[in-house]
Symmetry: C2
Subunit: 125 residues, 2 copies
DNA sequence: CCATTTGCCATACATTGTTGGTGAAATCAT
DNA sequence: ATGATTTCACCAACAATGTATGGCAAATGG
């Protein structure tokens, strides 16, 4: 019954984890944008994904009191549940394997160092 | 126009890349299983995903001649196209950010070293 | 020539991801 | 106090992706 997260779900869980106790819609969206650049992410996509993750028991949420800032209405905070931690752990391990496999061949892509291989795949017609 | 790969598509592209000129259905499936453990992956899932990736122009394929092994019928080989390389590059960079973010908090998950944080998120009711 | 092996592919369905919004609650300026 | 602005939550409808299951074809060995 392991959960096998989708790409977006993985990003959302990672955002929640890294935001610790400051994880609510807006901050989660911002963090997700950072993680996924240059992909575009809409706020709505974040909220519906949060709903589904909560339905599955991977995260839980509660409403805060409003804060005394301009426009500061009450926020819905999120945290990982045990199930979500396990799913993310597994999923992050896969992300690592993917990243390492790619890096072995192309070099450190995130640093823009993309080395090109010397071989060229045979491609008969 | 950026392609924003799904999780599975990312795995398949990574498998093709790492298999260089030995990338066909069966080997791609095997590699995908390694990358995604402990997730289960069916061969059928691999083939349909290959079809869709080819439709989108991320990969291309051609049929080989049969090999002289028992049951060795002709294979459909795959290679990354330029579009697929760019999509994978971008997607791998995201995978890296996810993994690093998680690793910063939990430690090296893939090595099973999972350190626990000292704080515990406040969770009002 | 038939059982076995290797491999490709289709159908049908379930789950995820995206777009493009709506509208509430709070503060600020006038 | 009323209208503009900001912060934030959420929804509906759809598009894209992922999974399960199983069939079929081509080659070889006996």
């Amino acid at each position: 019954m392991s959960e096998s997260l989708g790409q977006f779900e993985q990003i959302i869980l990672t955002a929640i984890l890294s935001l610790r106790d400051e994880a609510y819609g807006v901050t989660i969206h911002e963090k997700a944008v950072q993680l996924a650049t240059p992909r575009k992410i809409s706020p709505g996509a974040v909220y519906i994904t949060l709903d589904r993750l909560e339905d599955k028991g991977l995260i839980s949420s509660w409403l805060s009191d409003p804060t005394p800032e301009r426009g500061g209405r009450s926020k819905r905070f999120y945290r990982l549940e045990a199930l979500g931690e396990r799913a993310l752990e597994e999923s992050a391990a896969t992300a690592r394997r993917v990243w390492e496999t790619v890096a072995e061949i192309w070099g450190d892509v995130a640093e823009g160092v993309r080395r090109r291989p010397k071989w060229s795949p045979a491609r008969p017609r």
